[in-house]
Symmetry: C2
Subunit: 471 residues, 2 copies
């Protein structure tokens, strides 16, 4: 057993205690009230990096939540790897559906329950533990390593792109390794070669200057809830086909090779249904369920509200109603363009006399797609094959890593992904949890990936040039 392996074994309990500590910080990046907690999580990570033996550890300010940076750059001639991860989490509501408080982590058997457990505090700690195990035993790493821990992933990393662009030299690297990802299951490894992008907005419709008595004005006054429902229904079909003019114009057509690759990595329809907890899947019948989540764009109303929501009733005609809407995007859709198309559609469908306010939540995130046979992915495949005694499947994730396309544009580096979340672990949902067996497997995987990447020539890992992704 190598020294780093013994070290990891000896520090198992400490690592788990650290996970519990980080999970206890309510670092909800979208909620202004939690700004202090988000900073505390970043500072927690910076301290942990110092303890691990990394150098130049610092907390860097941005226009929003801060970023932790550290490095170890004493492997001349070897590739430079930029580790990426985040310590912010999604909001916890609906809170009443949680079996225990989301920021009081609770272990039940092999599972730890808390917001951020699988997305992605566990993998963040595992990656740091891997570096520590090498530095504390060998005194060195097999490659040069830089590391950033951000805290705006869950809100689209609006301040990370400017930070990366501004610090191009500091962050220069041959390959990015994101710890924000998952495996197909506890026994089946997988490699994500793409992520969907996101465009989002909040809309408000106003129909009158005040809420109205439904007796006095029912029959003559427009109803903001009704108008909002009409707009929502105008945007897409029940099955999810988006009805916005031009929405699909830039979507890259799937060829046979794309479809075969997606099919190879696909969950069965039955498994997808069961993981979603739905009776029936919906969606465009021209595409398989796997194609629909991997390579087709969507539009979902994440939240909507208007009028009286308290106990009992209130016979009111509400003056205003609101919705939060996000689209998942695929190559080659542009978030800015999609946002404009959706807004134009809404304005075109607005009834006379009704006003619409559109608030953009940040600029959105581009989709990302990289070659499955990139040397970085080949290295990853070797590591996963050893670890799981099974070759990985390749998949295009339906989710979004907002910064992925930006790394490619700003640093000219591809991003590969090694993380351990599992599809049924409730990311973004109540009762999020994570398998502690996967958590403890993590550090070994990261060490082996670094060792394997040390065999690669830096120039081969680098993207040839800084170009827009997925054109």
């Amino acid at each position: 057993m190598a020294g780093w392996q013994q070290y990891l074994e000896q520090n198992r309990e400490r690592r788990q205690a650290e996970l519990m500590a980080l999970l206890s910080i309510p670092s909800v990046s979208t909620e202004p009230a939690h700004a202090g907690d988000v900073r505390a999580a970043v500072e927690w990570a910076a301290n942990r990096l110092k303890v691990a033996g990394l150098e130049h550890v610092g907390v860097h300010e941005t226009g929003g939540h801060p970023v932790a940076y550290a490095d170890w750059l004493h492997a001349p001639g070897k590739p430079t790897i930029l580790f990426y991860g985040h310590v912010d989490v999604q909001p916890t509501d609906p809170l009443d559906l949680w079996a225990s408080p989301p920021f009081e982590p609770r272990i039940v058997g092999d599972l730890v329950y808390a917001r951020g457990a699988c997305d992605m505090k566990a993998s963040q700690i595992a990656a740091i533990a891997a570096l520590e195990s090498l530095l504390k035993t060998d005194g060195k790493l097999p490659v040069n390593v830089k590391l950033i821990v951000e805290a705006e992933e869950e809100i689209g990393s609006p301040n990370l792109k400017p930070f990366v662009t501004k610090n191009r030299d500091l962050l220069a690297c041959d390959l990015v390794v994101s710890a924000d990802g998952g495996q197909r299951s506890e026994t089946e490894p997988s490699i994500a070669v793409g992520f969907r992008g996101v465009a989002g907005m909040e809309i408000s419709v106003t129909t009158s200057s005040t809420d109205l008595h439904s007796g006095g004005f029912g029959g003559v006054a427009p109803n903001a809830n009704q108008v909002l429902a009409e707009l929502i229904v105008s945007l897409r079909t029940h099955g999810g086909r988006v009805l916005v003019d031009g929405f699909y114009d830039d979507v890259r057509v799937l060829n046979e090779a794309d479809r075969a690759a997606i099919a190879a990595g696909a969950l069965s329809e039955e498994e997808m249904r069961s993981r979603a907890g739905v009776e029936q899947l919906v969606g465009d019948p021209n595409f398989t369920p796997a194609e629909r989540t991997a390579a087709r764009p969507t539009l979902d109303v994440n939240g909507m509200w208007g009028g009286y929501q308290g106990p009992g009733g209130k016979t009111v005609i509400p003056r205003q109603a609101h919705a939060k809407i996000t689209c998942r995007l695929v190559p080659n859709q542009e978030p800015g363009k999609i946002g404009n198309l959706v807004e134009a559609h809404l304005r075109r469908h607005l009834p006379p006399g009704v006003t619409l306010e559109v608030k953009y939540r940040g600029v959105g995130s581009k989709p990302y797609l990289m070659p499955a046979d990139h040397p970085g992915n080949k290295a990853l495949a070797d590591v996963l094959r050893t670890l799981y005694a099974k070759p990985p499947v390749y998949s295009r994730s339906g989710g979004t890593i907002p910064i992925a396309a930006d790394f490619r544009e700003a640093l000219g580096a591809w991003m590969i992904t090694l993380g351990f979340a599992l599809p049924g672990e409730g990311a973004h949902a109540p009762n999020e949890h994570h398998d502690l067996r996967a958590f403890h497997r993590g550090p070994t995987a990261y060490v082996r990936l670094l060792e394997r990447l040390a065999q690669e020539r830096p120039a081969l890992l680098r993207a040839e040039e800084a170009v827009p992704v997925a054109r």
Copy 2:
């Protein structure tokens, strides 16, 4: 000046202080947390009735909020008048739109701002003050008077109908006078000869067993917000035409006389638009705006909500969404039947794999319509003509007095209405207020109505028989 007039003049300030006191009680009948406040308001009314010199004053329990009762029955051979009013109020949200706290009444010029100011705490106090002014000066009333003050009007009086039925002898009368009503404007009197009924429900749709990550499942999972929007849009057109099969089947067709009567009492379209604070009225072009609020049924979504409503965004596909819906009904629609039709429509339009829960909020309220030339209305017209130096217009109110039809069925008595709310005073809306000039005119109006009704023969006031209303 009669003794009672002097008494009213002398007690002007006290009366206004009493109004402020009653307005300070947050008697929101729909909110369980305010049950104690609702009881306090009923007890306040009972105490006030005792002070006024009424007899048999008591607070009677029901299955819900209590009812105050009092009487004075020493005018043999004269009609027995049952005064009706309520001291509960609508909820206050959206609270942020109030310029001052809704239960801290504030006087600005001639206006008092508070929840319940126009609907209907002011008229309730005015009616009691009228009785007091006669009892404290003449020592008697010109007619026999019974009085009930309830506290469930704003939730459809679900427990008052059983109370009335059970206490038929106690409440036996020749005519009901409701203090819950309004005038056309501060200078134009009006008589309401009808009220719409109400049928209401709360619905919840459930699309999956948990909220889902819109990345992982966007494209295959149904979205509860989307389903709810689809159901809402299926129920009615933007203009308000209800699309539920059978909804209009029992609606009594308006004849030329009906239309002429409604037109005579109608606000101008411009005035209605301005009072509603909308840029454009909506509605069925086959009916005038006045006909649409007076004599046509409606369906409005009073509230809806689903998914994430906090700051920023959350990329979630919500598992559940909710709506509160009410219909205003006209003769001869039945609330129970309409509720069933709406529920059947929703179930028919529910996509496969989605579940629907329908919660009824009480049994609803029947519409009410009485003859404009009933002797009670003639008496009312005489009083109003004297008071405003102008003949009243007759109108069918778009609002609902839940108990009106029940009085007719249980007691065989018609209900006439004398109240002082004005259309622009924000009943059920933020910044509800009331004109203090109208408040102080109230007691005089009630005294004169009692004096005028003393000239009527009881048998002529009574409805011939206890029959369903508006068949």
